[in-house]
Symmetry: C2
């Protein structure tokens, strides 16, 4: 380690949870990721947009509110039941925009290709992105392609960024949860993560587990048409519903109580989770959203969501409480309760 590095490390008074190297867990969305963001990125790029720690920045530009977001996709395998890295990349960026209540408009894509990738695979991914753009009603307007030598990448990584316009007056943000609010989940959990894991591990079930990857902007538009009592929207991707709720509890400084028996999960997904020893609450979803909404409006919003193809299994799964701010507690089926911890590291690497 040369002197420059020592000086830099020295300038970071508490080392990153004891780590001196990047660990897989730094990409998990859990504690290590939060650590990296709060110790490194936030102090470096001090500005009010980034400090909000939302999945998108909401920018004021000549009286217009724009949402702007970016996400890198490194999922392996690149093709999985129900989708592929291209579809995931478009839907993921569309969803990050939609979670601010924005109407997604434009998307960019930057490809990092590994030398030796089959052009037919790339073509299949690009067609899938095209379909996803058409379904979501967005245009892919700019892009870039880089190639790295064999062994310096892994087939294909895609970074999508997006711009959307916010056409309502609400502020929908991760720090918007209020005591008394209800927590709505738009459908079954853990489908995406377990679809990728099953494919990766070569598991076979009677019913194939299929990724839920879908663009949620249409569902969000419908919710916004029906109610102004939407305080926070998040798509529980990396780290699953547990990690998303943690972020909301922490950033809004409220407590969260979940009802275990209200959380919808498919039988085959539950089975796969048990087989692999994975808690489905921590598994990535790519077509679900968590909404924190006003108590009075909650039932009506759920009804409206159920009338939409992407929210048919929507349910109220819990509420926001004043007790235990920053903590997520789950009431279990048998009357007990347990604390849902923020995971330290990575239980399912490269899931998105």
């Amino acid at each position: 380690m040369d002197q420059d590095y020592a000086t830099l490390l020295g300038s970071c008074p508490v080392p990153f949870q004891g780590a001196t190297e990047v660990l897989l867990g730094h990409g998990s969305g859990g504690k290590l990721t939060a650590d990296l963001i709060e110790r490194l990125f936030l102090p470096a790029f001090q500005n009010p947009y980034l400090a909000k720690l939302d999945d998108q920045a909401v920018l004021e530009l000549q009286g217009m509110r724009l949402a702007f977001t970016t996400d890198a996709f490194v999922v392996t395998p690149i093709f999985f039941p129900g989708g592929d890295i291209g579809r995931l990349a478009v839907n993921g960026t569309v969803n990050d925009l939609a979670m601010s209540g924005a109407r997604p408009l434009y998307v960019s894509a930057a490809f990092i290709l590994e030398e030796g990738l089959w052009l037919a695979d790339l073509e299949r991914i690009v067609r899938s992105m095209q379909e996803a753009c058409a379904t979501a009603g967005v245009m892919l307007v700019t892009g870039d392609t880089k190639v790295v030598n064999r062994g310096s990448g892994d087939k294909v990584f895609i970074t999508t960024s997006g711009i959307g316009i916010i056409e309502h007056a609400l502020t929908i943000a991760v720090d918007g949860a209020q005591v008394g609010d209800r927590i709505i989940l738009s459908g079954t959990i853990a489908d995406h993560g377990m679809a990728v894991m099953s494919k990766r591990e070569g598991l076979e079930f009677e019913t194939e587990i299929v990724s839920d990857t879908v663009a949620l902007n249409s569902l969000v538009a419908s919710m916004l048409e029906g109610s102004a009592a939407i305080h926070c929207l998040r798509d529980p991707t990396r780290g699953g519903v547990a990690t998303t709720l943690h972020e909301i509890a922490r950033r809004s400084q409220v407590g969260i109580v979940l009802e275990e028996q209200c959380i919808p999960i498919r039988e085959e997904v539950k089975g796969a989770c048990e087989l692999l020893g994975i808690d489905p609450l921590y598994v990535a979803n790519e077509g679900k959203l968590v909404a924190i909404v006003g108590r009075e409006a909650a039932e009506q919003i759920v009804e409206r969501m159920r009338g939409h193809r992407d929210g048919q299994a929507a349910r109220i799964i819990g509420e926001i409480v004043a007790d235990h701010p920053g903590m997520v507690v789950m009431r279990t089926g048998i009357g007990g309760s347990r604390i849902i911890e923020l995971p330290m590291g990575e239980q399912l690497p490269r899931i998105c």
Copy 2:
């Protein structure tokens, strides 16, 4: 190859210059890159923004003109004389915005980290990005971090995207060159590419070759203040000045004549190119621009550029002609002339 792939390949009547796999050259910015864009990306994402093939999309949004761009950075080594991958990523995106005449405002960054990267290296890169943002006057407002397992990446890849606002009425685009226009180059060529190559190859020269990476938005703003006769701006990165001029000639359907003795190059860079057998006209620059401007305004624009710290060596290097549309011809010092070809593949992989 399963049937799906065969069908897809079959749907591509002329295979990609005979290739069935991604080659390093597909990321070169040369013929293979053009091939990929024109055979794969353009037909898939048919829209007028992408079809312009500019380095940024210019979007109309409620009467406002926004520029939007993205670029992936995979340079190796990640630290090189004069810069690093982080500085390059910020400046590259700022420059792509500036080349539409936009004022760059907001930047996003998506990191793909390889497990095992030194956190001190990441910190050094992030600090460098912070400095680059401050210098260029842009805010990094949103980001993402993914980690791939050891051997599936190469230390760090960074994709930056950016948004800028166009505050003038000009249309500055790659198809804007007109017969009689003059071609201005803002400074010496090949500095960035040869700085990276020298570091990679362990070459030492009496005078160290240093990357020219810099944000060009200030220089562009000054040029726009001084003249409305700016028809096209490009930063000659991957593939160098030769590739950039080819794109302009082809997209504007004009011929280009260059004067070899007018093209500025540092002695040590020239020496390094000769040593490595590389034509500097094809080597990446990261702090230079090519401007196609009206004949009458050309001298005055050059004067103005020379008064700016980033354009001190600006020169007129050639002109736009009606002859040989789509071709670039160089008049050599001894009175001859040679055709400057678009390179097929990649002479310097992973230079940016």
